[in-house]
Amino acid sequence: MRFSPLAWAKLLFLRDLGPTEVGGFAISDAQDLLYLEDFVLIRQECSPVTVAFDDDAVAEFFDAQIDAGRRPEQFARVWVHTHPGNSATPSRVDEETFARVFGRSDWAVMAILAQGGQTFARLQFHTGPGGSLQIPVAVDWSRPFAASAWPDWNQEYLQNVRPDEFCHHQQIREHAGPLSVSEMLDGLTEHSHQFFNEKGPT
């Protein structure tokens, strides 16, 4: 499975923006479903160790994607979320969701990116005999890609990620506040430092 540089950069940016986990769906190339063009956040309630999508927001995401001319296999098959710490190994909750929600589709991928850079991706399929396998994650530099859009991504984060009660307190205590555009732009140097040191998928 390959991320476009744009999708990968956006995922890293959103992972590192706030104190919470984040999750969303990857948008696949129509002709090459394991090439991920973009990553889209769904409105969600998050803590440092959990992410739960809002059910209405999932329905609205489907409506918007279908209105944009995409098919469900392009926007609702690759479920992506981040983990704190170094482990991208799926938790029990992850496994339950993957089986219950994505077990009804012909195929789906559970992709996890840990704060420390480790990645995990498992493809499960239910056509024919069915099965599942862990698949490698890479960034595909071989196609043209759009420029990063930090202010837009920051806005997408603000609109969709609702930190839970615990996080609010933690944010106030521990974070100078990476959550406004101006503060984020002030921190560009720090962020680019992080990006240039990012080793990419493991």
Binding site: E21, G23, I42, P48, V49, T50, V51, A52, F53, D55, D56, V58, A59, E60, F62, D63, I66, R71, P72, E73, A76, R77, W79, H81, H83, P84, G85, S87, S91, R92, V93, D94, T97, R100, V101, F102, R104, S105, D106, I112
Partner: protein
């Protein structure tokens, strides 16, 4: 009559389908999802929550989308 039907199961589906006049939300669900548990789906008609006995109208947009998509970092 024709409705726009959106369903994520199987290959995924987002297209116009033909249904009988008087079809209710529940009848459509049973026909398209059969053994599925309604609690695992958010059912909306024209982007609004729908009741199971709601009678569908020509041109309605009906979506069955997944619920409770949750992840966690620790077990």
């Amino acid at each position: 009559m024709k409705i726009l039907f959106i369903n994520n199961d199987g290959a995924g589906f987002a297209d116009h389908i033909e249904i009988a006049d008087g079809t209710t939300v529940e009848q459509l669900f049973r026909k398209r999802v059969n053994e599925g548990n309604p609690a695992d789906y958010l059912i909306r008609v024209n982007r609004q929550p729908a009741s199971s006995d709601q009678v569908l109208q020509p041109g309605d947009r009906v979506s069955f989308t997944p619920t409770k998509i949750e992840g966690a970092g620790r077990t």
